[in-house]
C-alpha cells in the first residue's frame, strides 16, 4: 500500500528504534507533524522553545543513552537554528539525525519564503547530509542516515525533505530491525604487536583517553590495560565519566584547565598511550613543546585523526574496544614501583597546590566557592544523575571537581564550546528518563534560559545550578591575566533576578550565598522532581586553576595567582 512521505518518515523513525524526538513545527513540516500527532502513542515529540534547544536536547538524549538523537525543524530559520546544535554534536562525535522540511522541489533555488540551502550550510558540520527529492528513496535515505550516524566515529546526519516529497505517495515496507552500523575497522595485528613492544619497553607509561572511549564502550578494557601495565590514566574533557573519578589510577582531566598531576605525569612519562582521543589544542597546549619527552601510540577509529594534530610514533586505526582488548593479551604484566611512587608524589603536590589556591579564593565576602557548590550538589545527587554543563568557568570547575562514577553521566560541549548548550542537553537527558543537574553560569544561562519553559512543560526533574558571578568569568580571567585587566564587555551589569525568572516560567527557585543555604536548597531541589533553579552567588574574581596559558605548556602551568 502506498503511504505519504510524511508517514514514511515517522514509520522509519519508529522502525529505527526512535521513541522520542525533539523539534519545532513550521510551514514546511506541517505534514510531518500531522503524522506525529496521529502516531503520538508510538513516538513522543518534545516541543522546545527554540530549534537550537531541540538540537541540543537531541544531542543530550544521545549522549545520555548512546542512542541516536533525533531533531525535527522546519525550513529556513528553523533549519538554520539547528546549525549550532548540529556543529556541537559534530565536534563531539554525537550520533544525531536532523530532519528538516524544505520548500517544494519546484520552489527550490528561487529564494522562496523560508527557503534556505540547509544541505549546503551543514555540509562542513555533518558526517553526511541528504536532500530527498524522490519519495521512493525517502525510507532508505533515513535508514542510511541512522546507519551513518552510528557507524565508526559517530556524528550528526541531516536529511532535508521538501514539502511535496512529504505529501507524495510511495510503497513502504517496514524493516524488522534497525539498520546495523557499517562494520568497524579492526586494528592491524602487526601494529598492535608493535604497540605491545613499545609498552613492554616503557618504564613510565601513561594512558590518555578521550570521548571515543565512551562511545566505543571500552572503559572496562581501559582499566584492565592500565592495571596490567601499571600505568596512570588521564583524560580529555570528553573522556570524563568513563572512569570513576575516585579510581586509584585516575589522575583526572589534563590540558588547559586539567589537573596538575595528570598534566605533569603525562609530561614525565616516556610513552603516552592515546585511546579514542584527538589531541585538541586545549588538551595539548603548545604542540611543539608537547610530547618533547615521550613517544605516542595513538589508537582511534577515525583514520583522519591519526597524525593530524600530534605526530605519533605508532598510529593504529581500529575499533577501540577490540583494539584494547587484544592489546591486553599482548602486553606483559608489570610493576613499576618508581613510577607509581612519582605519581603518588604528584598527587600530593597537586593537593597542596589546590589547597593553597582555594585558600586564596575563598573568604572574599558573602559568596560561595565554586568547588563548594560542586561538592554540596554532588552529595545530594546519586551516581546515576546526569551532570550537564554550559561553557565557561563553571564547566571547568565541574569537570575538575565532580565525582563521576558511570560513563555517559557528564554532558558538556567540549569541541565547539557552545554557550547555551546546557538547558537543551539537560532536557534531552531528562527525556531519556534521567535525573539531571545542570551547572551553568549567568552568561551561558542567558543564552538558553528560554528552555526553562520546556523543562516546566515536561515537568523535567532537573536541578539548575547557576554559578552567578555577574561576569563572563572565563574571558574575564584571560583579561585579568593577559589583557591588563581591560574588562571589555565581560561585566554583565544585568539586573536579572533568576529566582523571579524561574517563578515566571513556572519553576521553583532560590538564591544562596552560604554553604548552609545551599545545603538546604539542594535538599529541596533534589526532592522536588520538577525543574528547580538555585542561583549561587560567586565572586567575579574566582579563577579556574590550574591553567596552561594559551599556546603554553606544562612549563608555564599557573597553579596560583600572585
Amino acid at each position: 500500500m502506498k503511504i505519504t512521505g510524511a508517514k514514511i518518515v515517522v514509520e522509519t523513525l519508529i522502525e529505527q528504534g526512535c521513541d522520542t524526538v525533539f523539534g519545532y513545527p513550521g510551514g514546511q513540516v506541517i505534514d510531518l507533524f500531522d503524522e506525529l500527532f496521529l502516531n503520538r502513542d508510538r513516538i513522543k515529540h518534545i516541543l522546545t522553545a527554540h530549534e537550537q534547544g531541540a538540537a541540543h536536547a537531541a544531542d543530550g538524549y544521545a549522549r545520555a543513552t548512546g542512542k541516536v538523537g533525533v531533531v525535527i525543524a522546519t525550513s529556513g530559520p528553523g533549519a538554520t537554528n539547528l546549525v549550532t546544535g548540529i556543529a556541537t554534536a559534530y565536534l563531539d562525535s554525537v550520533p544525531m539525525v536532523a530532519v528538516t522540511g524544505n520548500v517544494p522541489c519546484s520552489l527550490i533555488g528561487r529564494d522562496s519564503f523560508q527557503e534556505v540551502d540547509i544541505v549546503g550550510i551543514t555540509m562542513p558540520v555533518t558526517k553526511h547530509n541528504f536532500i530527498v527529492k524522490n519519495v521512493a528513496e525517502l525510507a532508505d535515505t533515513i535508514r542510511e542516515a541512522f546507519r551513518i550516524a552510528r557507524s565508526g566515529r559517530p556524528g550528526p546526519v541531516l536529511v532535508d525533505i521538501p514539502k511535496d516529497v512529504q505529501t507524495a505517495l510511495a510503497e513502504f515496507s517496514p524493516q524488522k530491525k534497525p539498520v546495523t552500523p557499517y562494520p568497524s575497522v579492526l586494528a592491524d595485528e602487526d601494529k598492535l604487536r608493535k604497540a605491545a613492544e613499545l609498552i613492554n619497553k616503557s618504564e613510565r607509561p601513561y594512558i590518555y583517553f578521550g570521548g571515543g572511549l565512551i562511545s566505543g564502550k571500552a572503559h572496562e578494557e581501559l582499566i584492565a590495560l592500565a592495571d596490567k601495565i601499571d600505568a596512570p590514566i588521564g583524560c580529555s574533557l570528553m573522556g570524563i565519566s568513563a572512569v570513576p573519578s575516585d579510581h586509584p589510577r585516575f589522575l583526572g582531566m589534563q590540558g588547559m584547565h586539567g589537573h596538575y598531576a595528570s598534566s605533569i605525569a603525562e609530561d614525565e612519562s616516556d610513552l603516552v598511550i592515546a585511546l579514542g582521543a584527538r589531541f585538541s589544542d586545549r588538551a595539548t597546549g603548545n604542540k611543539k613543546r608537547f610530547a618533547k619527552n615521550f613517544n605516542i601510540i595513538h589508537i582511534d577509529i577515525d583514520c583522519a585523526e591519526l597524525q593530524k594534530n600530534i605526530p605519533a610514533a605508532l598510529a593504529v586505526q581500529g575499533d577501540i574496544k577490540d583494539a584494547i582488548g587484544r592489546l591486553i593479551g599482548m602486553v606483559n604484566k608489570k610493576k613499576l614501583p618508581d613510577w607509581a611512587k612519582r605519581i603518588t608524589q604528584l598527587r600530593e603536590e597537586e593537593k597542596n597546590r589546590t589547597e593553597r589556591a582555594l585558600a586564596q579564593c575563598s573568604g572574599s565576602g558573602p559568596t560561595l566557592s565554586p568547588y563548594d557548590i560542586v561538592d554540596i550538589i554532588s552529595r545530594h545527587a546519586d551516581g546515576d544523575t546526569v551532570v550537564v554543563t554550559d561553557v565557561g568557568q563553571h564547566q571547568m570547575w565541574t569537570a575538575q571537581r565532580y565525582p563521576f562514577c558511570k560513563p555517559r553521566t557528564f554532558l558538556t560541549s567540549g569541541g565547539l564550546g557552545t554557550m547555551g548548550y546546557g538547558m537543551g542537553a539537560a532536557i534531552g537527558a531528562s527525556a531519556a528518563g534521567k535525573k539531571a543537574v545542570l551547572f551553568t553560569g549567568d552568561g551561558s544561562f542567558g543564552m538558553d534560559l528560554n528552555e526553562l519553559a520546556t523543562a516546566v512543560s515536561q515537568n523535567a526533574p532537573l536541578v539548575i545550578v547557576i554559578m552567578n558571578n555577574g561576569v563572563l568569568g572565563m574571558v574575564r580571567q584571560w583579561q585579568t591575566l593577559f589583557f591588563d585587566k581591560h574588562y571589555s564587555n565581560t561585566t554583565l551589569d544585568r539586573k536579572t533576578d533568576f529566582v523571579k525568572l524561574a517563578e515566571a516560567f513556572g519553576a521553583k527557585g532560590e538564591r544562596c550565598v552560604t554553604d548552609d543555604e545551599l545545603e538546604r536548597a539542594a535538599e529541596r531541589a533534589f526532592a522536588a522532581n520538577e525543574p528547580y533553579l538555585i542561583d549561587c552567588i560567586v565572586d567575579c574574581d574566582e579563577f579556574v586553576l590550574p591553567m596552561l596559558p594559551p599556546g603554553g605548556s606544562v612549563d608555564d602551568i599557573i597553579t596560583e595567582i600572585k
Binding site: G120, P124, K127, I131, A304, Q307, K308
Partner: protein, 165 residues
C-alpha cells in the same frame, strides 16, 4: 612537491562541493581539479593536483576517505601514470606572424581548430610543462584568451582505480 590523486565518487549532485569544500575548510590548496563520468555511470572520477609535503598528502587522503560519497582514493605515481592536460588558446593572427605560429603548432603537435582573419585557435594536449612551454612560445604574438582543463591522469598497465569499494 606536487601530488596527483585519483578519486572515485558517487555520481550524485553535491559531491563536487563535498570534495572541494573539504580542501577549503581544512586549508589545503588545489592546483587543479577535473571531474567527469567513468565507465560506470554511477560514479565520477575526480583528478586533483595539489602541492604539499607527505604530511599534508596523508591528511588529504584520510579526510577524503571519510567522505561518504568517496569510494576510492589513490595517489598516482608520476612514473607510472599518464598525465595530460588540454589547452585551447586563441592567438592574434596576422600575415606577418601567421607562419611562425603555424611552425610552433607543428613542432608541438598542436592543432588549429578555428581560423579567422584575425585569430587562430589552437588545441594542445600534453603534460603541464609542455602546455606551459607552448603558451610561453605564442605569448609574443598576443594571447586573446585561453583555457586549460587541469590534469587528468590514468595509471599505466594493469593498475586501475576501481569504481566499487
Amino acid at each position: 612537491m606536487q601530488y596527483v590523486i585519483g578519486v572515485i565518487v558517487s555520481n550524485i549532485s553535491g559531491v563536487l562541493s563535498r570534495v572541494s569544500g573539504m580542501f577549503t575548510r581544512r586549508g589545503f590548496n588545489i592546483d587543479s581539479l577535473t571531474v567527469g563520468e567513468t565507465e560506470n555511470s554511477g560514479y565520477s572520477r575526480i583528478t586533483i593536483a595539489f602541492n604539499g609535503d607527505e604530511d599534508i598528502r596523508d591528511r588529504i587522503l584520510s579526510q577524503l576517505q571519510k567522505l561518504h560519497d568517496v569510494k576510492e582514493v589513490e595517489v598516482l605515481d608520476r612514473k607510472d601514470t599518464v598525465i595530460r592536460e588540454l589547452l585551447l588558446i586563441k592567438v592574434r593572427n596576422n600575415a606577418e606572424t601567421r607562419q611562425d605560429i603555424m611552425t610552433a603548432v607543428e613542432i608541438f603537435r598542436s592543432k588549429i581548430v578555428d581560423y579567422s582573419p584575425s585569430s587562430l585557435t589552437c588545441e594542445l594536449t600534453g603534460e603541464t610543462s609542455k602546455v606551459d612551454a607552448f603558451i610561453e612560445l605564442v605569448k609574443p604574438y598576443g594571447i586573446m584568451e585561453m583555457c586549460r582543463t587541469g590534469l587528468v591522469a590514468i595509471e599505466r598497465g594493469e593498475n586501475c582505480l576501481k569504481t566499487v569499494k
